[in-house]
Amino acid sequence: MKLLSRAEEFILLAIWQLQENAYCVPIRSKISEISGEAWSLGSIYMPLDRLVKKGMLESYLSDSTPERGGRHKRIYKLTKAGKEALFRVKEVESAMWAGIPNVSFKTEG
């Protein structure tokens, strides 16, 4: 299986962290908060959809809050396949980093 893209990876990680409250808005703010980049809502939807299709996420509807104008939330949950994909990315990444000497030096060095 192909590796996850960076956006997919971030989103999956965000969802894992958020647990029961993993729907679009908090996912976005979590990623923006940690990475310091402004992610738009639209840029979350597409990977979410894709991940559901790939079977790495499940979604279900949950209750609404007044802030949402009375509309349901679509809550996402990591599947087993999703977790496995994350681990695989991490492994590959560490392996790639492992081949680089003087890891502790800053890049300007």
Binding site: Y23, V25, R68, R71
Partner: protein
Amino acid sequence: MEKYRHKKPPIFAQWILSSLLPDEQWKTPLGDFEEFYQSLVKERGVFKAKSWYWGQILHLVPRKIIHSVYWWFMMFRNTIKIALRNIRKHKGYSFINIFGLAVGMACCLLILIWVKYEFSYDRFHENRNEIYRTWTRTVYSDGREEVSTGSFYPLAKVLRDECPDVVNAIRWNVQTNALITYQEKRFTNNIVGFADPGFFKMFSFPFIQGAPETALYDKLSIVISEEMSQKYFGAENPIGKILNFNNQVELQVTGVIQDVPKNSTAQFDCVIPFVLSFGQNGAEPDHWGGNPLTTFVLLHENADAEDVSEKITETVLKHVPLPTNMKASMYLQPFARMHLYDVNGGGLIHSITIFSIIAVFVLIIACMNFMNLTTARAANRAGEVGLRKVVGAKKGDLIKQFLGESILISLITLVFAVLLVCLFLPSFNELLSKQLPLSLLLHPIIIAGFLAIAIITGILSGSYPSLFLSSFQPVKVLRSTLGSGAKSALLRKILVVSQFTLSIFLIIGTTFIYRQLHFIKNKDLGFAKENIVNFYMGGEISKQYETFRSELLRNPNILNVTRSLQHPAYIGSSVRALDWEGKSSEENISMNFEYVDYDYIETFGMEMVAGRSFSREFATDLTEGYIVNEEAVKLMGVESPIGKRLSVFRKEGRIIGVVKNFHFQPFNFSIQPFVIGADPSWGKNRMFIKIRPEFTSETLNYIENLSKRFSPDFPVLLRFFADDVMDWNYSTEQLISKIAGYFTFLAILISCLGLFGLASFMAEQRTKEIGIRKVLGASESTVVFMLSKDFTKWVLVSNLIAWPAAYFSVQRLLEKYVYRIHIGIDIFILSGLAALVIALLTVSFQAIRAAQADPVESLRYE
């Protein structure tokens, strides 16, 4: 709650977003957006939040559009592919569908082109909405009405001088076959218009040389068409040249106009001042007798024609006092309506309506074929429908698909229909004796009309099939083969019955039109119309009538010669200035009149009931003799009319004979009282020659040569009297009967095609049943009977519906003829039988084939 109210995202933007999302399950982004919006409001204010929301929408909409267009196109490509595959797979049915539809459409297109052409008449005049033609309605005390479009010589001047709403009024008249000479060039085939000077300011005939403001104002001027200029002057400049008119006056060319368009009511080669119709120095008549001229009136833009009509009537009545027991009023007919509408109802619009209805009938019949065959063969496509539904197509998608398919087929058909139109336009032109140009096909309105007809046809014929097909339930369809269900069988019955109802209706209608025409052609007019040649005597022949006549009579093949003022097939003039012995003073009646020469009664073989005809042996016959018809005697109420005093136009005389009633008007009119005089002071320019039927062409040659010798400048136009009667009085009837005949044929052809397709389909469906029946001992004839039984029933039902409808229409059609055929039941029965026989022949062809098939083959087939 109040807290959230100003924090709601813009409602319209929400609505857009919500309408872009597929269904309720997937509306969660709406909530996400709203939540994000709330946080934006808190962090950066309402304005920022709003502009963010709108920005998202603006971002989304174009993508959505591109996306849906893309998929629409993909699906459409699929529709086309499937449709074309279906056409190819079932060539026979497709041929029936497309051919039938193409013929139906071609009929409609031809009629559309024709209607467009007729409606384009006189549209090129800038003042077309302000120009009117005057006409008169006279009501007599006995309730009789007379409508005349002829006008009066002084009318135009009176209107100009005395009616403030009238901008201009001009007189107009046309002379055909006028002789015009320029040096050596002499042509007699000129159509000359006589018009008052303002003519070219009122009507917009574009000038090439000269100007409408000045061209006709000189008394001795002439304005010629480009074609005529070419004919007489070639490349020379025509302005200022002198043309001689009728060997009478010399006229100077003051203007050249573009050739008069074909779709102009006024047709002419040149126009000369109206005063010239009275000779060069002729005095203008100031009497108010009806005359063969037209008065056109140009009104102020905001004048109301009805008001002005009343004012005109008042003004005219000041000049012409009427007897108390007679009422006359003048009316204005819009010039733009002149071509299509007669002043007393009817006119060309009548034929246009009839043809349009018939053409639409033909198209509807073709559409029904389409619906019929598509629904009948629905079973073949049930599998496709089922599969599409299983894969996720909704009912709406399928309706779209099948409608798209039928619209596609009708657009393909349109191509064939246009080809058919191109092919048959020349014949159609001949039928109508018109020159509809093929270029009309490219007119935007026509193209739009064509497309509209094609799309409407597609929607009409695809409507039921698409609803029907799309409602299949996939489980049922895919589990077992679907029979051609009872629901569609009922519809099929209804469609076949309506097709045949329309066809039978058309057969009956057309047969009656033919019958009436036949009746008109063959009914005894009360005089012999065969073997009589007639022509209009110009100039010399008229002056030397006696010599010409005796020369003619030398030829043993010429039996009799006479002349008269009018044409005995249509006598329109009537006289009120009548007096006779014993006439009570209150009676104000009118009679039709005619002035003739010796031998009139004999040439036409009219029968005298009493007395004698005009005779050379009685010197006073010419000046004092009157012959009346039986109807006149009845009206006058005298016991023994012979020898009684009678004065016509205040000219005293005696009745010398009574002629048996004869038809001097079309059969729309009953025979009216009629008086014939012989007064030589009336110009009798119409010559009638009775010839022997044996050597017609030699005799015609003789007459022609003789007339050339007498009058080289005015070649005569010989016409057979019998043709004149038909052409003048019944041209519309002839046209309608011809076109209705063709269209009816097409309607029957298309119905039969459909029936043929249906029959073959049904035979196909019952192949196994027929096989089993035959194995069990059924004979071929039983099978044929079984297959044809249903169709017979349907055609019989159609008859029951078509008869009353046809009866009422035919009754209305024949209403206008005083002399008409009896609406007998025989034609109804015969038409019904004819339809039945045609239907059975069509069906039995298939039925016999199915019945003859080897049962072994048909049973092995599964």
